[in-house]
Symmetry: C2
Subunit: 368 residues, 2 copies
């Protein structure tokens, strides 16, 4: 396990810490140092997306797996060179504390399990990367932050778009004033939910519907791109409760955020159509991303319309995920706070709670 003091000594001995164009810490002096990650949950995201990304990392490596399916776990372990002794299940999970190979636990579980496994990981002396949404409630988020703080461990939330070149470039240009004074932000995010038995559609496991799963991209982009925190929300939900997919969670929810500068954000989240769009409107032009937050194929235009496509410079990693993974590794190595810490996840969940409340009570909710 990486020890902060030991790392501190390494740094003091002569590492060169610089900042990348994206403002992310880069540590050039430890090219070979890799932190060990345990992936908790071998579902679509953990197995399909995250695990294959370690080959693109400079500071992160896969060292352990946690799964309730021993056959699957052994197969994946064999494929990725994870030793049998580093395969865990949900019962013996806490014994990771005795595994010095594991520096970081990456929680890729249904949302309702995020808090428990983050807190248990911290108690086992591990740093934590937790997928978004951070948890099913702000109370859980607060407990997760407190647990990691108490353990002296980093907590980072998996906001991959903060490491995605098109999003970084859009934000950079907005901040540089390329579209003048920012006035309006808009984002639609949605996909067509298929299987009615998916955990995403079970409220006890997901904490909510499209807003928790895909709408959070619109919400987080609104805060990220404006670099402001909203002062109020208003939301309207529309769900066909006769649709077997939507017996427990919302389909469509439209929410408006008011920012202190006067910027208004209008965001839409849905589970009944594919949407992926971010638009920033200034008094001198627009920044348009469509798709904006996909795994690949994102597109960016800056100007009065879509006549000028922009190819952004590379992001901090070879991919958004390797950038994300290595960021946490470097934060651990350098004892820095991640740019998307637990507090970032908590902010989104607090706003999501206000959005749900606004939709329920049909009124504007002031955010404090």
């Amino acid at each position: 396990m990486i020890d902060l003091n030991r790392r501190g000594v390494v740094l003091a001995a002569g590492s060169a810490i610089t900042l990348s164009a994206a403002g992310l810490p880069v540590m050039a002096a430890t090219p070979d140092r890799k932190l060990g990650y345990a992936i908790v949950g071998l579902g679509g995201y953990g197995l399909g997306i995250i695990i294959p990304q370690f080959k693109n990392c400079q500071h992160s490596k896969l060292v352990a797996l946690v799964s309730g399916d021993p056959v699957k776990a052994r197969r994946v372990a064999a494929e990725y060179g994870v030793p049998e002794r580093s395969i865990y299940d949900y019962k013996n999970f806490d014994s990771i504390k005795d595994n010095p190979d594991i520096d970081v636990v990456y929680v890729c579980l249904p949302v309702s399990m995020h808090a428990e496994y983050t807190i248990r990981a911290a108690a086992a002396g591990k740093h934590v990367m937790c997928e978004k949404p951070m948890a099913v409630s702000s109370a859980e988020c607060e407990a997760m932050i407190a647990a990691c703080k108490k353990a002296g461990k980093k907590l980072m939330i998996g906001y991959r778009c903060h490491f995605e070149p098109y999003n970084l470039e859009a934000r950079r240009r907005a901040r540089a004033g390329e579209i003048g004074k920012l006035r309006y932000f808009r984002s639609e995010h949605g996909f067509t939910a298929g299987n009615p038995n998916s955990w995403r559609l079970k409220k006890a496991m997901s904490g909510g519907g499209s807003l928790m799963d895909i709408g959070i991209y619109a919400l987080n982009a609104a805060r990220y791109m404006t670099a402001e925190e909203p002062v109020s929300v208003y939301a309207k939900e529309t769900t066909d409760r006769n649709d077997p997919r939507f017996r427990e969670v919302e389909d469509m929810i439209e929410f408006q955020l008011e920012f202190p500068s006067g910027v208004i954000a209008s965001c839409m989240s849905m589970y009944s159509a594919n949407q992926n769009h971010i638009l920033l409107m200034g008094d001198k032009g627009r920044i348009d991303l469509e798709p904006g937050t996909r795994y690949d194929g994102n597109k960016l235009w800056v100007g009065q319309d879509r006549s000028t496509p922009v190819n952004p410079p590379p992001g901090p990693g070879a991919t958004q995920w390797s950038g994300q993974l290595d960021h946490l590794s470097l934060c651990v190595i350098n004892n820095k706070e991640p740019i998307v810490p637990g507090e970032e996840g908590l902010r989104d969940i607090r706003i999501i709670e206000a959005i749900y409340r606004s939709a329920r009570e049909q009124k504007r909710i002031a955010l404090t």
Copy 2:
């Protein structure tokens, strides 16, 4: 002046009334019959846009001018072949009642003058075309409708987009189910207001800011495209009151409409940037217009993205304005109600009043 009874006889004698693809009445049997229009107000729209359109009309002709500027009026009259005796000013306007050439009065004045000149035109026994927004208040709209009803005259509001091929085709495809079940509507409309002394920026003349002038396109499109009436509104205004343009009226206002079917419309209106966009989102695809309501150059895509541009069939007229003008002429000839009567203008103004109230009171306003 065209007399409804005389027209009725003409029709009964053998005219063929059919419906165009857009559902608009077409009267093929009277190709040469043209109603005479008096244009009231020789400003940018009346002089620059409407007057040049009569050459494209089959059933409408320019026969009179009303202006406070006699030099300008004589110049325009000479250019368009309007006899000197058919030039009026605002004092002698009521004497149009004695001019049998005038069938219709087209009110192209600042909004605060719409009610007065509509009511005076009706009292003079003339049909009325009135520009949008219909008036500065719903009370005025109601008075205008009552005046025309009492006089037995048609009242139509200048919603040119109801005669514009791209808008007609977008609506047709939405109604035909080409994007599945409609879920979400979005529209941004705005332009950069320049001259702080423009009547548009004087509340007493305009009745309001961007919402009255350009945002009404987003509002009307939301109602037109969904073919529903909203049941509630919520709105948020943002205006820099230190900007000399916005001392009296709002710059940006974002409003959300809730429709009975569950469709949500999110609309943005502004005077500080150029925007012109209409988007319909169904559970099977999207209908996208950008620009959507311009004088020309509108574009339409139907599908999952913008890969398939659509060229609509021709509209009811050679241009949206000639289609609009001839529609009222045919309604007069055939004694039909216009598709955008005074009641249509009133509906928008009632919703605009609710939008302003919502922004002022920071709460959802139910529409009754």
